[in-house]
């Protein structure tokens, strides 16, 4: 009996050990996690403690760090190596888990952390060739000694921080997911840069456009999916003459109906990844100095996407936001220039249908011959499971991302290859480093020539008074509509053969109107000789910014802030009066009269308290569905619908149109009928969802904004934020997406700057600096940026100082 009791006690003890030492489903290992000596209890504010002196292994000289009241590090180093070493060391101190996790996402290694459920995601990341692209890029970067030095210094800094960690000081997420950081490498930085390129250029509608064209015809596509959408005021004013001899593309690819059908959109980045930037010349500002504004719109997460930092060496003094995991400053300013970016949105990714000889995928048809493909084998490690080997073909049209059951009529296997400019070797790190050092427009333009992918609209101002914007990047030379549809990867037709010469890319400096701007709209008007793509953002944001900048005089910071937070809904102003006229008030019931009155009284400003803003948004979406979702429901999916401006023009100009009719009903619906029906559906739906018409219908409550943790762990994010703005509005704040960094700079004798991002410097959810800026971001407030010249500071102020010393 005693033996039995003993065995039982040991069995229970071992079971308890096993349960508490290992993750159980999504639950962290509770023994480790609750351990007050090393578990989450240790991830409190003491990790924010600022030491006066830190002995750090690997520095070449003493580095001084001034910490300001928001815990932005201002790094003062004596040489280039040390400044990036310190950047890596301090960024890792605040953001190690985030930077490492993002590289796992980029490389398709999430299964190593969370197990088999991430296998499909990892497989797709590998097949898209992100890891392959990063490997190629790091080779290119290592060839340049300056870039190599910067990347290696940063990596050494990160690794020095990792070595200093104890089980107690590990970031919280490692404890939640029960794993440990690995050694940082320069490849990881390249992976992050490629991931950024994917996030900003990975969206394509080629498959949908091919299917739409094959089903509804060429005229449908040409009419409803034009290269130049209505009302667009391009980035470079349409009137600008282009004085160069343009290259001619070799051939225009023929129309083609793909047989390999794949929903490309489900894996693609957010369609609203975009931004605003503008620069105003001194003759429009109160101070007489040029001013710059930027707000990149990205998915909003905690820890924050950006890390604020100042880097100072004898030959450089730069301030701005960096990407955790990459050295230098991506968006910011120095004493001579300031710059901001928006996504270029020109097409740098094409899809090709490839015909293979057999299921080994080792040979494919090109110019009537079977050409050997390279087979790439990827090892995907899965936590707690056997490693999976995944192989896919690499063709001259890029990696074969999608393949499988579909076969061509002749029985040959087929698949879709992805040609993407970011697969080519490039050195964006060198570009960023040289941007940080640039002294005027000329040196800035020279610097960004190396920034090949992702393509960006770089707006800049200089101390000498210059303002400029450049649609920068590496863009394939294309025939008209080349890249709008999936093409047959069988010959040179449709293949990328050359690039648009860099000096012929759209750019403008010091225009007569006194400002430049961009908001992801088409960069050019019809006069520009090259075709660069068609799927740009609609006109509203760009047009509103230009309207306001055109009107404003003696511009001050307050005006720029107001424009960042501008909630004016230009699309509503265009459409709502017309839509309201179509409403048959006799048929309304319940609260519809009150709602209609509110819509009549609305001033088109999508402020958080506006109920009409949310009703209008939903009404418009219902209307779009009513017009397009029947015709565009092809092969089991709703295909890409035309832009808002195209639909708006139709509604305003065409009282009768075959597409107004719902082909699924026996009746013949007309324009007024679908507008009325959409309104009633909207009210009904919102009433069901939100209850009686009242507070819950306010934009800030019905939609609001959620900033979730990267892992979407409830309790680690900030949700239910009372925000206005929206799609097509300058303040492009949405449910979980929006301005990820608002920056304003005035470039006088000394730059004056303000900035804010929706989060905080720390990645530790237990730190007050994790989300301390969120409320001010919601309120549209900014922080004054301390651009320091030296460490000679008043230590009684809110600034404090750390000396980093090499201890060897």
């Amino acid at each position: 009996m005693r033996l039995f009791k003993t065995i039982l006690a040991f069995a229970v003890m071992l079971i308890l050990f096993n349960m508490l030492n290992n993750s159980q489903g999504g639950i962290p290992p509770l023994g480790k996690f609750l351990n007050p000596f090393a578990g989450f209890w240790q991830n409190g504010e003491k990790l924010d403690q600022i030491d006066e002196v830190l002995d750090v292994n690997g520095l070449r000289d003493v580095v001084q760090v001034v910490w300001d009241e928001r815990h932005v590090p201002h790094i003062f180093a004596e040489n280039t190596y040390d400044v990036y070493f310190a950047q890596g060391f301090l960024t890792a101190r605040h953001r190690l888990w985030q930077m490492e996790f993002q590289t796992h996402v980029a490389a398709g290694r999430v299964s190593e952390i969370i197990g088999e459920k991430a296998l499909e995601f990892d497989r797709m990341q590998r097949r898209r060739g992100l890891l392959m692209a990063a490997e190629t890029t790091i080779q290119r970067m290592d060839e340049d000694p300056d870039t190599h030095l910067i990347l290696q210094a940063y990596a050494n800094g990160v690794n020095t921080w990792i070595e200093s960690l104890t089980p107690a000081t590990l970031p919280l997420e490692y404890k939640l997911l029960n794993y440990e950081p690995e050694v940082w490498s320069t490849l990881k930085t390249a992976l992050l840069l490629k991931f950024m390129a994917w996030d900003l250029t990975g969206r394509n509608s080629e498959m949908d456009m091919s299917i739409i064209q094959a089903t509804l015809g060429e005229e449908f596509v040409n009419t409803f999916y034009p290269e130049n959408t209505p009302h667009t005021d391009p980035v470079i004013p349409a009137a600008k003459p282009w004085r160069f001899e343009a290259m001619e593309p070799d051939s225009i690819p023929p129309a083609f109906v793909p047989q390999f059908v794949q929903d490309l959109r489900k894996d693609e980045p957010d369609e609203d990844n975009g931004s605003n930037n503008w620069a105003v010349s001194g003759n429009k500002t109160a101070s007489g100095f040029p001013m710059l504004a930027n707000d990149p719109h990205l998915g909003l997460k905690l820890p924050s996407i950006w890390y604020e930092i100042q880097l100072k060496t004898p030959d450089m003094n730069v301030y701005g936001v960096s990407m955790p995991g990459a050295p230098a400053v991506i968006v910011g300013f120095n004493k001579d220039i300031a710059w901001g970016v928006t996504n270029a949105a020109s097409d740098v990714m094409d899809w090709f249908e490839i015909e293979f000889k057999d299921e080994s995928y080792s040979e494919y048809l090109y110019m009537d011959e079977w050409i050997k493909s390279d087979l790439r084998v990827e090892e995907i490690f899965i936590r707690g499971e056997d490693t999976v080997l995944d192989s896919f073909a690499i063709t001259r049209f890029g990696p074969l991302v999608y393949f499988g059951e579909n076969k061509l009529e002749n029985g040959h296997p087929t698949g879709l290859a992805m040609r993407w400019s970011a697969h080519d070797p490039s050195n964006e790190m060198l570009a960023v480093r040289n941007m940080n050092l640039a002294a005027d427009r000329e040196t800035f333009y020279t610097a960004i020539e190396d920034f090949e992918a992702p393509g960006q609209n770089f707006a800049m101002i200089a101390r000498d008074g210059d303002i400029a914007i450049r649609h920068n990047g590496k863009y394939p030379l294309r025939g008209q509509d080349q890249g709008k549809f999936v093409r047959a990867g069988r010959d040179t037709l449709g293949e990328w053969q050359d690039w648009i010469p860099y000096e012929q890319l759209p750019a403008i400096s010091n225009p007569w109107r006194g400002f430049v701007s961009s908001a992801n709209q088409n960069p050019v008007g019809k006069k520009y000789p090259y075709y660069m793509g068609w799927d740009y953002d609609d006109y509203e944001r760009g047009s509103r910014i230009n309207d306001r900048l055109g009107d404003l005089k003696k511009i001050k910071f307050g005006d720029m802030q107001d424009l960042h937070m501008d909630n004016f809904n230009k699309q509503a102003k265009l459409m709502l009066p017309f839509l309201l006229k179509q409403i048959d008030v006799e048929t309304l019931s319940g609260e519809m009269d009150t709602i209609l009155k509110d819509l009549h009284g609305w001033n088109y400003v999508s402020a958080p308290h506006e109920k009409a803003a949310w009703v209008y948004k939903q009404w418009w979406l219902h209307l779009e569905k009513a017009i397009w979702n029947d015709e565009l429901n092809i092969l089991g999916e709703i295909r890409k619908i035309p832009t808002r401006s195209v639909t708006a023009r139709l509604l305003l100009k065409k009282s009768k149109l075959v597409y107004y009719d719902d082909i699924n009903t026996p009746e013949q619906e007309g324009r007024a009928e679908i507008i009325n029906r959409a309104f009633k559906q909207t009210v009904l739906e919102l009433t069901n969802e939100l209850g009686p018409y009242g507070e819950a219908w306010e934009l800030g409550r019905a939609r609001g904004t959620d900033i979730n943790h990267l892992l979407s762990v409830k309790g680690l994010g900030r949700t239910g934020l009372y925000t206005g703005g929206g799609q097509g509005i300058v303040n492009a704040t949405k449910k979980d997406h929006g301005p990820s960094w608002r920056m304003l700079v005035e470039m006088g004798d000394r730059p004056i700057a303000k900035g804010i991002f929706p989060g905080g410097q720390s990645g530790n959810p237990g730190s007050p600096y994790y989300d301390n800026a969120v409320n001010n971001w919601v309120a549209g407030k900014y922080y004054d940026i301390h651009f320091l010249d030296s460490t000679d500071i008043d230590l009684n102020s809110k600034l404090s100082l750390t000396r980093l010393r090499n201890y060897q």
Binding site: T6, A9, L34, A38, T166
Partner: protein, 118 residues
């Protein structure tokens, strides 16, 4: 009482130096084995020692800059408050140490009995 104190002190020192959570198994197991007379002292004694240590240390961390992380983790785990979270931490420690202490004591009884018979 002695067991409570000895457990508390030994586990405290070991965890300060070596962090690992499983000291709350190993130490009670050994102390339980060394306990000659009372199963209660071996199990509840060591269990209470670990409970006091883990609960006390949790409260100490909570009250020394841990307010934010405790609120967040309480929400993550669906637990009402920091106090309940600290109590839960102590209870997990208690349960594990109790079983380990009893297992140690029980093992001793088996080994000594067999020794006496032989």
């Amino acid at each position: 009482m002695i067991n409570i104190l000895v457990t508390l002190i030994i586990v405290f020192i070991l965890q300060l130096i070596l962090y690992s959570w499983w000291w709350i198994i190993l130490v009670p197991l050994i102390l339980g084995f060394l306990e000659k007379d009372s199963a209660l002292k071996a199990s509840v004694g060591t269990g209470l020692g670990v409970f006091l240590l883990w609960f006390g240390m949790a409260v100490y961390q909570w009250k020394n800059g841990g307010e934010i992380i405790v609120i967040r983790i309480a929400e993550v785990m669906g637990i009402g408050s920091g106090f309940v979270l600290a109590l839960a931490t102590g209870m997990v420690g208690f349960l594990v140490a109790l079983v380990a202490g009893y297992a140690g004591f029980s093992l001793r009884k088996v080994l000594i009995k067999e020794y006496q018979i032989s």
